[in-house]
């Protein structure tokens, strides 16, 4: 099984070398990028912390780095630590009081939603610097070369493919580390019954804060990647309620309790939007959102464990009912 997984990864890594067109490569990059971000979200989402505030972390990553580069000539290599520090601060600001005061469930979702909206409002309000709703493009460093390491800008999609592939794998690895540690067991206990968990000596606030921090920092880096790859940002795509819900639903549609669930969710949503666009052209606006919404409703009602979770459960049931092969 493990060997199979490695073969799959190597095959994925070699895929662009066989001469994929620009468009399929772009789709794969976007897919892996969102798969990484959804994985980061699900890291805390599956433990009962449904955050609607990850848009805030995504936009900090995206905007801090681009603003630093555009207005202060700050290389993204220096901008990234600044963005990470700011993200950590904001995550602490949200997390510590929420977890101390036991803000959970609906309240947690809605309080964190406030933060993604604050991020969006601030970006729009600072329109003199951020370009407001019109968006912003990082000053190009590619005028006389095809790449610039200093500015973290590469015109080659291949470079980006390997960067996001590495991030995605790292995301899965972090998931595995969390999954295997005692922390997960403690956090699962917390998500079931917080007071009971505290009564047997689990440090509720500290553990929740730890996972939130990892999740937030991962999302922040996702924002950096998104900005540097797309080279265009606007507040609606990286902050606010829209993208925050998109993260939640991507992870849930795929199955947030499984390591590859968020990835399946990212593939699914991308295939849905791109497939419909290819089938119907650019003129039919709204059909993808309509279908997406309808499918989400059906998913949550009929298969709350997501595509992958349901598929695995089905496979297990089939295995159990199938006649066992005779072993001598």
């Amino acid at each position: 099984m493990k060997a199979l997984a490695w073969i799959a990864v190597v095959a994925l890594a070699l895929l662009p070398l066989v001469g994929l067109g620009n468009y399929p490569l772009h789709l794969m990059i976007i897919c892996l990028l969102w798969a990484y971000v959804y994985t980061g979200w699900a890291l805390m989402g599956r433990l009962g912390m449904t955050s609607f505030g990850h848009g805030a972390f995504l936009s900090i990553g995206a905007y801090v780095v681009v603003m630093g580069w555009n207005h202060f000539g700050l290389s993204p290599w220096l901008g990234i630590p600044v963005a990470l520090a700011l993200t950590a601060l904001v995550a602490l600001l949200i997390g510590y009081p929420c977890f101390r005061l036991k803000i959970v469930g609906h309240y947690f979702a809605l309080v964190t939603l406030a933060f993604s909206e604050i991020a969006r409002m601030i970006i729009v309000a600072l329109r003199d610097y951020t370009g407001g709703s019109l968006g912003v493009t990082p000053n190009t460093a590619l005028s006389n070369s095809s790449w610039s390491l200093l500015a973290l800008q590469f015109s080659s999609k291949l470079v980006w493919f390997y960067v996001v592939l590495a991030f995605w794998l790292a995301g899965l690895w972090i998931w595995t580390l969390v999954d295997r540690s005692m922390v997960r067991i403690a956090l699962e206990a917390i998500s079931q019954e917080e007071d009971a968990a505290a009564s047997i000596g689990i440090g509720v606030t500290r553990l929740k804060l730890g996972v939130t921090m990892i999740s937030a920092l991962m999302t922040c880096l996702g924002g950096v990647l998104y900005a540097q790859y797309q080279l265009y940002l606007n507040p609606e795509t990286v902050s606010g309620i829209g993208v925050s819900l998109q993260m939640v639903f991507g992870a849930i549609a795929g199955g947030m309790f499984l390591r590859l669930g968020p990835t399946v969710g990212a593939v699914f949503t991308l295939l849905l939007t791109e497939g419909l666009r290819l089938a119907l052209g650019h003129d039919v606006h709204g059909l993808d959102t309509t279908l997406y919404g309808l499918l989400l409703v059906l998913f949550i009602i009929f298969m709350p464990r997501g595509i992958l979770g349901t598929a695995l459960a089905l496979a297990q049931r089939l295995q159990r009912t199938a006649p066992r092969p005779a072993t001598a």
């Binding site: 449904t50 809605l110 604050i118 309000a125 997406y292 919404g293």
Partner: protein, 287 residues
């Protein structure tokens, strides 16, 4: 020094608070009784606004008829939402109920884009501006404020003076005992959802007089309404009422001193601070 513009900002805040309070009322009613947050509440209002626009501006029905039709339509939508979307997940994890209505948010937004296009639409009803001394106030806002106030008084009387209202309040206090007292929770839930929908329809009628309609308009005021509800304590109708006026003052006066978006940022930061001071809302408790 007396500043007439500041006074205008405060008064506008009061008027804005009225409409926010009406928006919060429907959401609080539903949460208080059914324990579900309709994330798609603002999208129901968006559909209502389109209904008024098409009935009045395109099919030339009189405005009052369009308004009545809008309230009935959104009320039916609310009942359908409960029947087909909420009921199947009522016994599932609470967060699923929140998420399923999030799916409806995308569904309604997408359907509206498909059916009505992304262009901004305007009802084309212009009411004159009211001038009191040196103050200029928008008549539409004033009307919205008065109607919102009347709607809330009506809701209060309904909840306290009628049999059904009493049953609704009772269900919200104890969901498991009321069936034993001969109250059918299914019927009450459906009725509450229709009532919440009707309030959304009423809000739609008032908002359509002030704002242009587009499919994403729900996203611009939906989050504000949730925050107002949480600030007042989810399900707490009086709390939501007070929180709406507080929130509106932050937006309006903050917007006067700085810029409209900064008004919102200030209001949101106030919300966050208040949450940490009173995690169950300014007036924790319900109904």
């Amino acid at each position: 020094m007396f500043d007439v513009f500041l006074l205008e900002a405060v008064l506008n805040g009061v008027l804005f608070g009225g409409i926010l309070a009406l928006l919060a009322l429907g959401l609080n009613l539903i949460f208080g009784v059914i324990d579900v947050v309709w994330i798609c509440y603002a999208e129901l209002i968006m559909i209502g606004m389109y209904a008024v626009y098409y009935l009045h501006a395109v099919y030339a029905l009189p405005l009052w008829l369009a308004f009545t039709a809008c309230i009935i339509l959104v009320s039916l939508l609310g009942a359908a939402l409960h029947q087909f979307v909420i009921r199947p997940v009522l016994s599932a994890e609470p967060i699923n109920q929140l998420l399923v209505t999030g799916g409806v948010l995308f569904l309604l937004q997408g359907t509206a884009t498909l059916a009505f296009g992304v262009e901004f639409k305007n009802l084309g009803v212009q009411l004159p501006t009211l001038r009191v001394g040196e103050l200029y106030l928008s008549t539409t806002r004033l009307i919205a404020f008065v109607v919102a106030l009347l709607g809330m008084i009506g809701m209060y009387l309904f909840l306290t003076r009628t049999y059904l209202g009493t049953a609704i309040r009772a269900i919200s206090q104890d969901r498991s005992v009321m069936p034993l007292m001969g109250v059918n929770p299914r019927r009450i839930f459906l009725l509450t959802s229709a009532l919440g929908g009707a309030l959304a329809g009423l809000s739609a009628c008032l908002l359509v007089l002030q704002y242009d309609i587009h499919p994403a308009i729900g996203l611009s005021f939906g989050p504000v309404v949730f925050l107002v509800c949480v600030l007042g304590g989810l399900g707490n109708i009086i709390g939501g009422f007070v929180a709406a006026f507080l929130f509106a003052q932050f937006v309006s006066v903050g917007g006067y001193f700085f810029h409209l978006e900064w008004g919102y940022v200030l209001a949101f930061l106030f919300f966050v601070a208040a949450m940490f001071w009173r995690p169950r809302g300014l007036f924790g408790g319900r109904l």
